[in-house]
Symmetry: D5
Subunit: 147 residues, 10 copies
Amino acid sequence: MSRLAVTEKIIATKVAQGLKWADVAAAVGLSKEWVTAGCLGQMTFTAEQAAVLARLFGLTEAEARWLQVVPYKGSLPTAVPTDPLIYRFYELISVYGSTFKELIHEEFGDGIMSAIDFKMDLQREPDPKGDRVSITMSGKFLPYKTY
Amino acid sequence: MSRLAVTEKIIATKVAQGLKWADVAAAVGLSKEWVTAGCLGQMTFTAEQAAVLARLFGLTEAEARWLQVVPYKGSLPTAVPTDPLIYRFYELISVYGSTFKELIHEEFGDGIMSAIDFKMDLQREPDPKGDRVSITMSGKFLPYKTY
Amino acid sequence: MSRLAVTEKIIATKVAQGLKWADVAAAVGLSKEWVTAGCLGQMTFTAEQAAVLARLFGLTEAEARWLQVVPYKGSLPTAVPTDPLIYRFYELISVYGSTFKELIHEEFGDGIMSAIDFKMDLQREPDPKGDRVSITMSGKFLPYKTY
Amino acid sequence: MSRLAVTEKIIATKVAQGLKWADVAAAVGLSKEWVTAGCLGQMTFTAEQAAVLARLFGLTEAEARWLQVVPYKGSLPTAVPTDPLIYRFYELISVYGSTFKELIHEEFGDGIMSAIDFKMDLQREPDPKGDRVSITMSGKFLPYKTY
Amino acid sequence: MSRLAVTEKIIATKVAQGLKWADVAAAVGLSKEWVTAGCLGQMTFTAEQAAVLARLFGLTEAEARWLQVVPYKGSLPTAVPTDPLIYRFYELISVYGSTFKELIHEEFGDGIMSAIDFKMDLQREPDPKGDRVSITMSGKFLPYKTY
Amino acid sequence: MSRLAVTEKIIATKVAQGLKWADVAAAVGLSKEWVTAGCLGQMTFTAEQAAVLARLFGLTEAEARWLQVVPYKGSLPTAVPTDPLIYRFYELISVYGSTFKELIHEEFGDGIMSAIDFKMDLQREPDPKGDRVSITMSGKFLPYKTY
Amino acid sequence: MSRLAVTEKIIATKVAQGLKWADVAAAVGLSKEWVTAGCLGQMTFTAEQAAVLARLFGLTEAEARWLQVVPYKGSLPTAVPTDPLIYRFYELISVYGSTFKELIHEEFGDGIMSAIDFKMDLQREPDPKGDRVSITMSGKFLPYKTY
Amino acid sequence: MSRLAVTEKIIATKVAQGLKWADVAAAVGLSKEWVTAGCLGQMTFTAEQAAVLARLFGLTEAEARWLQVVPYKGSLPTAVPTDPLIYRFYELISVYGSTFKELIHEEFGDGIMSAIDFKMDLQREPDPKGDRVSITMSGKFLPYKTY
Amino acid sequence: MSRLAVTEKIIATKVAQGLKWADVAAAVGLSKEWVTAGCLGQMTFTAEQAAVLARLFGLTEAEARWLQVVPYKGSLPTAVPTDPLIYRFYELISVYGSTFKELIHEEFGDGIMSAIDFKMDLQREPDPKGDRVSITMSGKFLPYKTY
Amino acid sequence: MSRLAVTEKIIATKVAQGLKWADVAAAVGLSKEWVTAGCLGQMTFTAEQAAVLARLFGLTEAEARWLQVVPYKGSLPTAVPTDPLIYRFYELISVYGSTFKELIHEEFGDGIMSAIDFKMDLQREPDPKGDRVSITMSGKFLPYKTY
């Protein structure tokens, strides 16, 4: 899959040049969460956004076109992730998944929180006992249709 | 595992009596997120908390003791969840997991967001285009130790 | 899970009494597709709908309440279904999945067809070379949000 | 498998030249659903159809021959697909699979809907609340033979 | 699933009474292959056939009705069978599967051998070097539809 | 594994030159079933047979030697095959596996049908309702040894 | 499966009465390896052997009949065994499997060692550095048939 | 992993030159079982042994050093092996694994047969009804330590 | 498996009576690590040890005999554990497993650390920044035998 | 992933030059356990540490930068490791995992032993009956937060 090759070039260039995702996002003019996901091969860029990235990462025209094609999504190599940072999120679903389900249904009824009409914000939360990672997710509630 | 039997009794009683998790949490005096997780067999209650739950759900003394034993955690029947609401969270990790990793490391260096020293708040976010589910997670950052 | 027990009672009663799903759906006043899915433990009924089903299948009051609780969805025992009828649908995704993806993105851009805001109609299509099964699915297109 | 190499060349050329599957299908003279599936390595072309594709995508004679060989079918990298668009179809089978089974058997008796003598049509369905994806599938019913 | 209970009762009765599948099939008036598959919960009987089986195996009326309901098919507990006799068939597919594919396509073009419009005959083939099991399978060829 | 490379060369040459397995088998002087399986990397050829194949497919001397080495057998990429033609055989085992077991044991007692001392014949069976694929398998019965 | 129930009764009786497999085998008049495998539900007994076992383990007539029915074989709960003693054998196959293959083919050509026409002897081998387990396996070589 | 490359070179050279494992073992001065396992990447050679192999297989100095590094063991591509010869050993564990366990514990108590302090001898056993493969395994019994 | 029933009775009694593993171990006269493992169904007790446990947990004579039978070991329900405490140990193997391998081989050569001739000590390690869990494992090194 | 390429270069250089991990660790000035894990691609080095490694292993500047990027952790190719040395650790978790859980909870209450704020020491423990591997692990106890 050629999008994968573009993703690998972006990552290798980022390491070689010491770029930061926050700076890449600022150049694109969108949140660091969405832009990083896009650079990692999970989102689709417009021609203008792709042009910015092409400049930053030295992409060819063909590579820039791949950024505008909807990718086959899924960024992890195994169904249960082995990386400790990512695993902790998987563990949260394992431990809290039934709680998410109960509380969302108690508040909204049958349906889901959209993972498509979705946004996310990740921040450092200073704390004297050790700083914390704070993540706020917001997804539209989609009720099951009756017919 | 006997804790499972207590969990099933709590859920069956809740359905039969039309209780709400928010009310159960208020009776216990803690957040609805943590109390629901505990009632679903994922957290450990103190003797006082267990007594409140025993009263609400008509538990025997032995059943109340099980609430005070640390459970074998994990609330889902399969590694990849089939329930659509819970799957959407799994999908978020699949799509955004590498983004979580990049951004947390960019901000904090090598380490993880704790899933133990962790709290969560789930709210309805009114929106004219359809209300949204808003989830704020806060976990302590734990840096990898060098030795 | 008690909803499972209610589902099994409904199925056993249906076999014993020779009921048809189409008649059950007519009594409930909704499509046969949605009502059958609900009776098989995948959808949530209102109190009125549950009362109709309780009468048809001889359910107790407690059993009728379970019909009004959002179930843990997923109706198949294995990730790859063994039943030939159901497998053929799985095969269609295996063979045509990438085609669905290409054509929906070509028409709509990045996003998905909702499986929640979704309806379905299943009909017999008479054909001199052998009647055909005709299934029409309609799901709202949900575009990926940029932020 | 060499067919895979031809598929990858077709996709790369399509991105580079900005072709549309609908136009490719029109050139071949068949539906966009079947032609796209074929270009993605799931169907077998005739010599004439392969010649059209060879012209469009700049294929060599050997590559065009591969298009006329029956491929090893199956277009997805994992048993449970990770891509959100394709997963939604998998979820529909998980949630509605037993419903498909009940309703088809109620109407036709024991047998299956063919995935071979099968056709499909995918259209945009305009809707003021948001356009919808409409998919109509038609497969011959095949009754189980008694002997 | 109640059909499973009927299957287990049939098997237990067969062991207790020392019945033979060949005799059961003769009573039903169909091949031993199809009748055995049906008694093992894989096929659907007519009311008349079910009545014969009810008499042979001492089934109740409700149990006989279950024999007339299309079952969820698949008779093996694991994806790769552990029983040596059944495994040998799985091994044949592993070793000869690509050969089946090449030769059927060479003879018939793209399509499949039906597993639905299918019949089978299993016989002892006397041989001085040790008798052989002879299995003849016959399935209708179904060509892939172009549209 | 180098045998794999020889297999791929044989297949690519076959496509490029439009050879038929039946003709290859005739040149080797054995059945089309066994010769195809061998060319697909599942059987071991003698030096004479390998020389014939080397001539037909333009193999080097080293490649011809690989044809005489016993290969690591198993020709399918996944435990449950995704290709529809091959899957139908897997489905037959899933549905009829317990029937094979019952009928072979009823006729022969405890033991297996050999997949080694085994032969197979695949033919077109003309039929006015659509031609059929007919496969006859013959494997020596091997009784379990008591000791 | 009722044979399982008979197996469990045999094991429970053996623990309760402190029987030894060697004594059971002596009573049956065959090797301890084959008799133990049979008592654990993997082999088929004759009526005479079953009568001996029925007396030893207090089996009913129906239970004794089950011992004469060919069982669904496979005695382990998972594909990769967790028990350390049994795992070591699995590890030997993982480490030495390709060696078995090379040496048997070097000596015999293409074929297998039969697991059906097979016998085994397990003995204590005294050794001053710690006694050893000695296992001798003997299986008929079965050459692949050419046809 | 570079050891893999050395293993592949050894195998390719062996095929090209028509060497036998028995001769390789004789040159090294150890059993054919251990030397073959080592050449297949499962054991660690001394400098002297590696020098012999380097001469036989034309290895470079760097390649010879890799033979002296402890490899990551495990010589099979899947958890359940597909090759018929190797599968038969897996089947023996599936069928006889619980028998191994019972008999070794009956003789030795709790513990295991070592797969490390282990040796093996594989011989042809002439038999008028067909020669047999005879394998003798000897592993030290290791009792579980109590503390 | 009856040992499982004894394990469950021991655990249920422990919860009901508020016993501590340390006290159970003291009564048995061995380490808390080994005795707990045994009570959880992983180790084999002597008649004397079983008598102590029978008194503590109110076991019948038959239940006490089961404690003296070598169990089928493995105490976790899934290959990758879901419980966060146990998962951390699995993660350590995932992250540090290749390090264990390199360092043990560097120090000892080819071989393993025995998991049978093994002991373990688990202690609280006071620390002003938060107490620590300290685990010391000691296993005999077993060198691979050359033959 | 480029870090993988750097890891492979480090390992290949180490074999070619006969370096020892203990010496590498001494050059870096940290423990052999942590430094080895880092060289195997599991930890993140500082610029100074990376410079030392670059000198030792002849890394380019770009390769040295990769050592300073947080890697995707997990050093084993399969969920259940096949290598005997590493498997023994997995077996310890399988056998002792529930014991770890019981004893840590008995001492500390609900929570985990951190695998992040963690250190480890691996030593040879001389013993006349055969030297032993001694591993001391120390991880901070993290109590579950109540909120």
